[in-house]
């Protein structure tokens, strides 16, 4: 049975309208993966000697054990944003004589192949071997430890699966986890309750008593079964089994009329975002990203100023733009044919998208002003980045959109609908963040920081002044490629 599933997946990938883009992204991802594999391997090899040298009076294994809990927490957050979960188009399979169990097992086991499960191995195995060679612990004990570490990573894998699933349905479900994590971090930081010590002790005991490895294995099986149960109870099509139909709430959006000709599209976009889970999530993510600066600015490594801050500024003010803009016009893919047979000026359609993104940038820029606390330069960089996003990045995203051929199914059941919620969506945004950073770096090195900030701002203003002209050009591209776009949007994909 699994053979059939794999066969179907390969065909779905190679026969999709966007196969070129997908392969390109996969190659880019490949390079990044190789890079990170090397980084982790080096870390794994260097970890033991480093710890031994810096903390000669402590056992390296005990130090590592006490930090495992943090590692797992960070891994969970990282996976949450970066790991795209395996998806499968279940609709055609529902009525076939295939056991639901085997489809679910396939999906769950497929997630094990993920590269994210290899990274911990690269650290754990060399570190474990060091411990064996140095003779501190028995070979069997260390093999047990390595195995336990890997099982912990897999637990994170399935925990992420569950959380992501819940989060897709309801953002509030994610909050308790964040609060819980912060409480434990706080208690540990102020020495009230040392969760690191506790978890370290547990793992130290595990090294001494390899039989205890059964405990993480049981937890892993538990998580697997939880996922299994969850997926099984959701293994239905919404439309046929929906118990309650969502009551339509009509909101008065007549205030958008003041925007003139783009008003109908603006209303449509706002409704699209608010009434569909997928785009709604992008709004929440934007707000979460505003906190990004909190992690970066106080970091002493940057000494209060760095060209890297441009990247942070672009991301913080433009995160909605990035997440929303890169899927224009796919958001409207379900009814693009209708749009194309109506008398709509392509430019107004695009102007509405640009307007929506502009508003988001302005709002995010205003919300980021409290970062003035970290110095006026940071505020200036963020505002310059906002201008750059407005003037340059919006037209770039809209232009790239004219090559978008991938359908987004807004109405698909939330069962495994994770399109565009993985690492790829951030990679697409990389050039948009790196180019201004490089420009800034150039001016910063040649002249000074003030000149660099002004340069970024001016480039943005020039783009803003030219927006009308650019939109005309871009609209022509959309019209020219509309047949290819329509054809691509017709394909149902996972």
């Amino acid at each position: 049975m699994f053979k059939h599933f794999i066969n179907l997946e390969l065909k779905a990938f190679f026969r999709s309208a966007s196969v070129g883009k997908s392969i390109g992204l996969k190659i880019l991802m490949g390079f990044l993966v190789v890079y990170f594999l090397l980084v982790f391997l080096v870390l794994g090899i260097a970890l033991y000697p480093l710890l031994e040298k810096n903390f000669p009076d402590q056992s390296p294994l005990e130090i590592v054990n006490s930090f495992v809990i943090f590692w797992l927490a960070i891994e969970l957050v990282f996976r949450f944003f970066m790991q795209s979960l395996p998806v499968m188009n279940i609709k055609p399979l529902l009525v076939l004589p295939i056991k639901k169990e085997s489809v679910i097992h396939f999906v769950l086991l497929k997630s094990l192949i993920s590269i994210y499960n290899i990274f911990p191995l690269l650290v754990v195995v060399p570190f474990g071997i060091f411990n064996i060679v140095k003779g501190n612990y028995g070979t069997l004990n260390m093999i047990g430890w390595m195995f336990a570490m890997y099982v912990l990573a897999l637990i994170v894998n399935y925990a992420n699966f569950l959380i992501k699933k819940k989060f897709a349905e309801n953002i509030k479900a994610f909050l308790p986890f964040v609060v819980l994590g912060m409480v434990f971090f706080g208690l540990d930081y102020y020495g009230v309750f040392k969760i690191t010590t506790l978890s370290g002790l547990v793992l130290d005991t595990l090294v001494l008593q390899p039989v205890l490895i059964l405990a993480p294995i049981i937890i892993l099986v538990g998580f697997y079964l939880l996922n299994f149960k969850y997926l099984k109870s959701n293994f239905y099509l919404d439309s046929s089994l929906q118990s309650k139909v969502e009551e339509a709430k009509t909101t008065d959006l007549s205030w958008t009329k003041r925007f003139g000709e783009i008003a109908p599209f603006l209303q449509l976009d706002l409704k699209m975002i608010w009434r569909n889970k997928r785009p709604k999530t992008t709004v929440w993510i934007s707000l979460i990203f505003l906190a990004y600066g909190l992690i970066i600015y106080p970091n002493p490594a940057y000494d209060g100023f760095s060209p890297f801050f441009v990247l942070v500024g672009i991301l913080m003010t433009g995160v909605f733009m990035l997440n929303y803009g890169q899927f224009v016009p796919s958001w409207d893919s379900n009814y693009y044919g209708m749009m194309m047979s109506q008398n709509i000026p392509m430019k107004q359609y695009l102007a509405s998208k640009a307007g929506l993104m502009s508003v988001s940038i302005v709002i995010l820029a205003i919300l980021s002003t409290p970062y003035l606390y970290f110095g006026w330069k940071i505020l200036a960089i963020n505002l310059a980045c906002a201008l750059y996003n407005l003037g340059v990045n919006i037209p770039i995203l809209l232009f790239a959109g004219s090559y978008n051929k991938k359908r987004i199914d807004l109405e698909k059941s939330p069962f495994m609908n994770y399109q565009g919620t993985g690492a790829t969506q951030w990679i697409v945004g990389l050039p948009l963040m790196l180019i201004p950073t490089l420009i800034f770096y150039g001016f910063y090195k040649l002249v000074n920081a003030e000149a660099a900030i002004i340069a970024i701002a001016i480039i943005g203003i020039v783009g803003l002044v030219m927006r009308n002209y650019l939109l005309n050009k871009i609209a022509a591209g959309y019209t020219k490629r509309k047949y290819a776009t329509l054809n691509g949007f017709k394909q149902q994909e996972n």
Binding site: V245, N334, L486
Partner: protein
């Protein structure tokens, strides 16, 4: 009103549509019949400039559809559910289309009132999004939306499919009323010979992309068509 010249559409060497010449005068109601794969939807997609012809062209009221977009303001069409916007309520959808076609809210309300019987109380003021309506009810919304903004050309692909018997009869009445208006040209496709013959002045039968029959409707038309499609 609509003039087709040397039109053909090929997919990788297979010709799916080949119409040398077809002229549809203003005010006519034309029924397009044919088996699956006969090229009905392909023809409508070409007419709406959703796909590109391999050769030839179509002009709508003297405007080449793939050269200018001016035909869109007087052409209303409904191909399938992909023409609907699932996350809108029916009212919002009608107002949106109205906005695009330069109609105000009062115009739309007047139009909707006229077709209240056709909706059978299942569409308006139901607090449901289009995606939560049944296929048949979605179709009702799509069909009436084509009439927004007083179009001179109305294109309906398979309007009778998925509808209940009562609604089919009401739809026939609606189409007949439209057909009586000399300003409106109607194109309807269907598998159902009887429905088509009932509402159209002229029937064009397609088979494998080629016009095989082109007849003015008379009392013998249905029989003639049934003979042709008999196995």
């Amino acid at each position: 009103m609509i003039q087709v010249n040397q039109l053909s559409k090929e997919y990788k060497g297979t010709t799916v549509l080949n119409i040398e010449n077809l002229e549809i005068p203003k005010g006519q109601s034309l029924g397009l019949v044919g088996n699956n794969g006969a090229g009905k939807t392909t023809f409508f997609s070409l007419l709406l400039d959703l796909i590109q012809p391999s050769t030839g062209n179509i002009s709508n009221n003297g405007i080449l559809v793939n050269a200018s977009e001016d035909w869109k303001s007087f052409t209303g069409s409904f191909i399938d559910e992909s023409f609907l916007i699932g996350y809108l309520t029916p009212e919002e959808y009608f107002y949106f289309i109205g906005d695009l076609r330069g109609q105000n809210k009062a115009d739309i309300d007047a139009l909707l009132e006229k077709y209240e019987e056709f909706f059978n109380g299942e569409i308006l003021k139901n607090k449901k999004y289009l995606r939560d309506l049944s296929k048949g009810n979605q179709k009702k919304v799509g069909i009436i939306a084509t009439l927004i903004g007083n179009p001179e050309v109305v294109i309906l692909d398979e309007p009778f499919a998925n509808l209940d018997p009562t609604t089919v009869n009401r739809l026939k009445k609606v189409i007949k009323e439209l057909a009586e208006n000399p300003e409106i040209t109607i194109l309807v496709s269907s598998h159902d010979l009887q429905h088509t013959v009932e509402v159209c002045d002229r029937i064009v039968a397609l088979n494998k992309g080629v016009i095989v029959k082109d007849i003015q409707t008379s009392t013998e038309t249905l029989q003639e068509l049934e003979m042709f499609f008999a196995v």
